[in-house]
């Protein structure tokens, strides 16, 4: 009631709820309803023009055999042929497997390292704030630039990575190539992605740890619960919603991964690191198979959209806390 306190207008300060809403109604000019729509319309219009209209167009194209390198051919509708081609294509399934493995391993490492770091940083040692900022830097960088400069770091001879490994293991630096070897390349993209995004998981976990009120630990202490027990019964369960949020977000982002890997290995050697986004880019912008790639894009949309749905539900769950 007294939250409105206008020092120069004593009468206002004394008004109750009905008077306030009456005042709102008295507003000159546009009605609230009109303003609401006026404010939202430009955003919706922009998204319709740049996202939805092209999407609808793409759905149409996915039923055609359009190939931009042969665009002189008349547009031919082929029904669901593109979709059956893709879903029956072993290569596409291989790429999806490669992508799934990349997502699973990189997210796993990020969770382990990120959660571990968060637990350590949460002990609030001196200077933790400064070092946290340092650790956060990689995730703020451009993935493309990161992919590019890691190719230098990972060059078998001139790069420092192999020399460093050689220092610890004695294996000669030119004996292996992180980006050029079929057995190593899939792990290389996981390594660089983890370097970049473990801090992301760390930051979210840190928020989770800080959301746990002290009194719960105090109560556990009174009950003489061991540190181990406290971790399993308090710390972990109360951080899980945050962890889930980080996992879902990373999983979606890595499922879409294109830039970093495209510059680091460009899908090679052979197609060992060809993620599904790279396949899509090749089909659409190198082979110019627009109809086919539209169909593939729609399949990916549906997958990401499904995941996004779960993601938003998880967001709301965390928000309610």
């Amino acid at each position: 009631m007294t939250t409105i306190s206008q020092p120069d207008d004593a009468t206002v300060a004394g008004m109750g709820e009905p008077a306030r809403s009456q005042a709102t109604r008295r507003v000159r000019g546009l009605s609230d309803r009109a303003i609401a729509w006026l404010f939202i319309a430009p955003t919706i219009a922009l998204l319709l023009a740049i996202n939805i209209f092209p999407l609808v167009w793409m759905i149409r194209l996915s039923f055609t055999s359009l190939n931009l390198s042969m665009s002189y051919l008349p547009l031919r509708f082929v029904g669901l042929d593109n979709f059956t081609d893709i879903l029956g294509d072993e290569d596409v399934w291989f790429r999806l497997q490669t992508t799934a493995q990349f997502v699973i391993w990189s997210v796993t490492f990020q969770v382990i390292i990120g959660f571990g770091l968060a637990l350590l940083i949460n002990r609030q040692f001196r200077g933790h704030s400064f070092w946290t900022t340092i650790i956060l830097l990689p995730m703020m960088l451009s993935p493309a630039v990161v992919g590019n400069f890691w190719t230098l770091l990972l060059q078998p001879q001139i790069g420092p990575f192999n020399s460093l490994i050689s220092l610890f293991t004695g294996v000669p630096p030119s004996a292996f190539s992180m980006t050029g070897q079929v057995s190593l390349a899939p792990w290389t993209i996981v390594l660089v992605d983890t370097w970049m995004w473990a801090p992301y998981v760390m930051l979210i976990c840190l928020a989770g740890l800080r959301s746990i009120p002290d009194y719960i630990y105090e109560a556990a202490e009174v009950d003489r619960a061991s540190t181990w027990r406290q971790f399993w019964s308090i710390t972990l369960p109360m951080t899980v919603p945050f962890l889930m949020l980080a996992v879902l977000f990373r999983a979606i982002e890595n499922f879409k991964m294109f830039d970093m890997v495209n510059l680091l290995t460009s899908g090679g050697p052979g197609s060992t690191t060809e993620l599904v986004s790279i396949t899509l880019k090749r089909a659409a912008f190198e082979k110019w198979r627009t109809g086919y790639s539209s169909a593939l894009a729609i399949i990916l949309f549906v997958a990401v959209f499904g995941a996004a749905n779960i993601y938003v539900k998880a967001l709301n769950k965390v928000k309610q806390r």
Partner: protein, 320 residues
């Protein structure tokens, strides 16, 4: 008295022991140092000569030179030493540096136009996204909008799509509209991507401003728009600034759209940097120099954003 006692107990139980802190600090600092090494290596490579940059084994100690930076900003031609001897003496330090390598500077490289593109597209799309985002966020925060949750989900979902997939129809549409490889096209595209983040983040920030302030202003005879401008916006300034920096970072770093939809005129830095070519492949000192210049603003922004980082990367879901 009771509160003081409670506080002191809380302190002793919950806070880690000095030894636990030291161990944690040691591990975290070790990780931080390892994680920052790749970046430091790149910064150092920017100050290496061509031969030092590709030396085997890799050189940790080297004589610093600005060659990489000169190479980044110039186009050079190789000449015979005799030809160079006949030239008038070099006018500037960079001419001199180039001639030491039997090179003559022929003109500026494309890095400045690319950098300018990054700036124009970055700031243009950020301004538009934050402007549209503020209006929409205010409406979502303050008015009852039918299907508000569905609309918000729709706005967010547009950001969930894989950029390569989005680029296919955009490419076709831009060809029809003559927007391919134009700054305007890129600004519109990045605005559309950023506006979803802006709406979500700003709605969170505006939700935190008590409604009572505006209601008081309305009672005082302000219109909605005046109340928004004079009461809400001044209070949301930090949130708006943080949101703007997030949008700017996205546009600055974006690669997939840039590489697929631009080739020259409107090309930004990320697709340009990997293709800085010297004699015989990538000119690593120049690439490293470009990377360093490109990354410095991001480092500054990260430090500035530290408090709001968590909000930004989770679309406002986690607020701390």
């Amino acid at each position: 008295m009771t509160t003081a006692a409670a506080k002191s107990t809380a302190h002793s139980i919950v806070e880690a022991s000095p030894r636990a802190k030291a161990v944690a600090g040691g591990i975290v600092i070790l990780y931080a140092v390892i994680t920052i090494l790749p970046l430091l290596w790149i910064v150092a490579t920017g100050f290496k000569s061509q031969s030092d940059a590709i030396a085997y084994p890799p050189k940790v100690i080297f004589e610093p030179t600005l060659e990489g930076y000169v190479n980044l900003f110039t186009v050079r031609t190789r000449q015979t030493p005799d030809f160079i001897a006949k030239l008038p003496p070099p006018e500037t330090w960079y001419d001199k540096l180039a001639r030491q390598r039997d090179m003559v500077i022929a003109g500026p490289s494309k890095v400045v136009p690319r950098f300018v593109n990054s700036l124009i597209i970055g700031f243009g799309s950020t301004f538009l996204a934050v402007f549209l985002g503020t209006l929409a966020a205010y409406a979502f925060s303050r008015f009852r909008i039918p299907l508000a949750d569905d609309l918000l989900f729709f706005i967010l979902s547009t950001r969930m799509m894989p950029p390569v997939a989005v680029a296919i129809p955009i490419y076709l549409m831009y060809r029809q509209l003559n927007l391919t490889d134009t700054r305007l096209g890129m600004i519109l595209l990045y605005t559309a991507v950023n506006v979803s983040l802006a709406v979500w983040l700003l709605k969170g920030f505006i939700d935190e401003i008590p409604r009572e302030y505006e209601e008081a202003a309305l009672v005082d005879g302000y219109t909605r728009l005046q109340a928004l401008r004079k009461v809400v916006l001044p209070q949301a300034v930090t949130g708006i600034a943080a949101t703007a920096i997030f949008c700017l970072i996205f546009s600055w770093n974006e690669y997939a759209f840039a590489v697929l939809l631009t080739s020259g005129e409107a090309q930004t830095m990320p697709p340009f940097i990997p293709f800085i070519i010297g004699e015989g492949g990538q000119d690593w000192p120049a690439v490293a120099a470009a990377t360093t210049l490109f990354v410095v603003p991001i480092v500054l922004f990260t430090v500035l954003l530290r408090k709001h980082l968590l909000r930004g990367i989770t679309f406002g879901a986690v607020r701390k």
